[in-house]
Assembly symmetry: C2
Homo-oligomer: 401 residues x 2
């Protein structure tokens, strides 16, 4: 059975009218004989509204209960979309993560999928129903509701596509992947296709169109992903395995991540166990660390900086208070005024000179960067937010993005 | 293990502040050593808001999907209340109907409970947790979410009390059961206690404080119910089995039901099969019929009137359109301007003259009634809404309510 998994994000289902409009398009595709599994997010800002209610009760709500709360957002959308499809005379059925049996570990708020049972879905598809699945949520072996973290609906969609051997279409409020976020650089070009690794760098480094875990999973299970506008009527971007038909530019695009917090720890006694202690404590809170840079030892002391997501501030502070007790000579500081710029291109593997060209650009334009890290297909910088626009413009010009 | 089941309705949990205030009182009782299972409704008007969204999509939404939608209301409350309890340093856990394993039949929107698994709850209680259960919802054998109908949270609370061999406390925004709804008749008296049958008549006939199915169940399983104000600091009313200490008045109270629609079917050919056909069609839609009255045959034709809840209008219209096809000679009409008044008292069984006194009162005051029905402990009338206030006043005066 050929199956298509489609995913609509919160903006795409942000009102009753939008839900009805999507229902119509789904019914049309169903009438063409397609077997559809549709994954949806919570409507508009409803996840934020639920989160705000929780925060009124306590700044650090119990995570199991927070998942119980947040999972209602998607449940509302699946019920409404399924009603709308039914009302158009087409059979439909909504399913929560628990009903699909999307089994996860018990890391509440950032759970990982362990298994998915496809039998229920295949039964419903064989009854000619459109299946509407709540994104972002799963269930533990004990029956506790979990959520997969921000962007988790993408992960749900790709996981379902993988288990159902289906293609995956991610519909959103942008019409594809651009070389640079068009809100930051209106002259950016839409990319026809890019490979998983590039998309991974673009997404994890902040393009914000599709969740990084979803791309990793798509890569692993070779699920091609179409990213397109939720009106479903304009060409989008395909993310797939690298092939020779893809453009051979050194630099494909640049991503911008404003949701970073740089943490600096200075005067750490030069001993590998100290650094290990810092990062293991942070890891124990499931905080993802990015852009680690370390200075060479001076007076037998080193400085380390790294970035985390701004959302992790609360959990991180608890860790740092602990560490300060254990390492009283160290000094801890935050900087939340930095932006991460990443220049990405699978062509960098074979073409040299990208890094050198970039350092020239920063120097010529007197743009100060705080950190620099590199991967095989990307180079990332943290710059002050005041320098952001200038940096984007000069880089876009040099690499014709 | 001695367990108390407490239930808080939508008004009682209508804001974050109210939820926090209930959490404090629960934590205090837990500290006194009580084992608490708390059943909550959706916050304030949230069920109506969800229902309105559904109605924007279609006037008659698919009932499975409507249950999927509405059940999120209670899920939000349990998560928030459990967070609030946790934030006060007391262990708590929220459970959906599905997690408690409240198994129901598959009559969506009006499901009946078949079984409840108490093991999970007993385990959590033995871990010293306050359990917060979503009222109004259950799950079918297939894992579909069901709801128990309006007032279903009361049914949840009493069912849990029955299975846990617990007492049941229903907290609401009125401080007990009055002889007449105090909003309609401010001089009404608060009743200290009444028996299940009286409460059943008062509730089913419209007192609106506690759901009729919950009282039936409490009666069946001999669960004493305390009904009190959600501030938990004033005396309320106890509903229990009749005993000799209860006051021996002929009339305990009067209930008023404004949510009725009188349906009249005239010129029905005088043949029992026709009447049976009408009511079996209505029953097949799970519409509850009340106050059936039938005229004696005239010209070999009869007229029948009966009342239903106003909410059932949509389903009922579909039935009547069918019937009109089958019985073209009959005429169908509605009247939504009537109110049902019921005079209730377990003492009526042994004391005669209540009916006679009432007919006198209606006659002397020139109040026209449309229908009259009687049970062992009650007499009910439908009167025009314009006559309501006068009727309440004269009846209250005659029976000193």
């Amino acid at each position: 059975m050929k199956i298509n998994v489609l995913k609509f994000g919160g903006t795409s289902v942000g009102s009753i009218e939008k839900i009805q409009s999507i229902a119509k398009k789904l019914v049309n595709r169903k009438k063409q004989g397609e077997n559809l599994v549709v994954v949806v997010s919570a409507m508009g800002k409803s996840t934020d509204e639920l989160l705000n209610m929780a925060k009124l009760i306590t700044p650090n709500p119990d995570k199991r209960e927070l998942d119980m709360l947040l999972s209602t957002g998607e449940q509302v959308t699946i019920a409404l979309l399924s009603m709308a499809i039914n009302a158009l005379g087409c059979k439909s059925i909504s399913m929560t993560g628990s009903q699909v049996s999307i089994k996860t570990d018990s890391t509440h708020s950032k759970a990982r999928i362990n298994s998915i049972d496809k039998d229920n879905m295949l039964n419903y598809l064989s009854e000619d129903r459109i299946i509407v699945v709540a994104g972002f949520q799963g269930v533990t072996e004990n029956g506790d509701i979990t959520t997969l973290g921000r962007g988790g609906s993408d992960t749900t969609a790709v996981s379902l596509a993988a288990i159902l051997n289906a293609s995956c279409e991610i519909y959103t409020d942008v019409d594809g992947v651009y070389s640079i976020d068009p809100r930051k650089y209106p002259k950016a070009k839409k990319l026809e296709s890019l490979d998983y690794d590039e998309m991974l760098e673009m997404a994890s480094l902040g393009a914000g169109i599709i969740d990084v875990r979803a791309i990793e999973m798509a890569h692993k299970y070779k699920v091609p992903i179409f990213i397109g506008l939720n009106t479903m009527d304009v060409p989008g971007t395909i993310v797939k395995e690298y092939d020779d038909n893809m453009e051979k530019k050194a630099v494909t695009g640049m991503s911008i991540n404003e949701n970073i917090l740089m943490v600096s720890v200075s005067d750490i006694p030069f001993d590998a166990s100290n650094v290990a202690r810092i990062f293991s404590k942070i890891a124990s809170k499931n905080i993802i660390v990015d852009m680690i840079s370390q200075t060479a030892p001076h007076n037998n002391q080193i400085n380390i900086s790294f970035t985390v997501e701004k959302d992790d501030l609360y959990d991180l502070e608890a860790v740092l208070i602990d560490l300060k007790d254990e390492m009283p000579s160290c000094d801890f500081s935050f900087n939340d005024e930095l932006i991460k710029l990443s220049v990405v291109g699978v062509g960098m593997i074979s073409q040299s000179g990208v890094a050198s060209k970039l350092f020239d650009v920063f120097s010529e334009n007197n743009i100060h960067f705080y950190q620099v890290t590199t991967s095989e297909i990307s180079i990332s910088y943290t710059v002050h937010s005041d320098d952001l626009d200038r940096a984007i413009n000069v880089i876009a010009k040099v690499f014709k993005l």
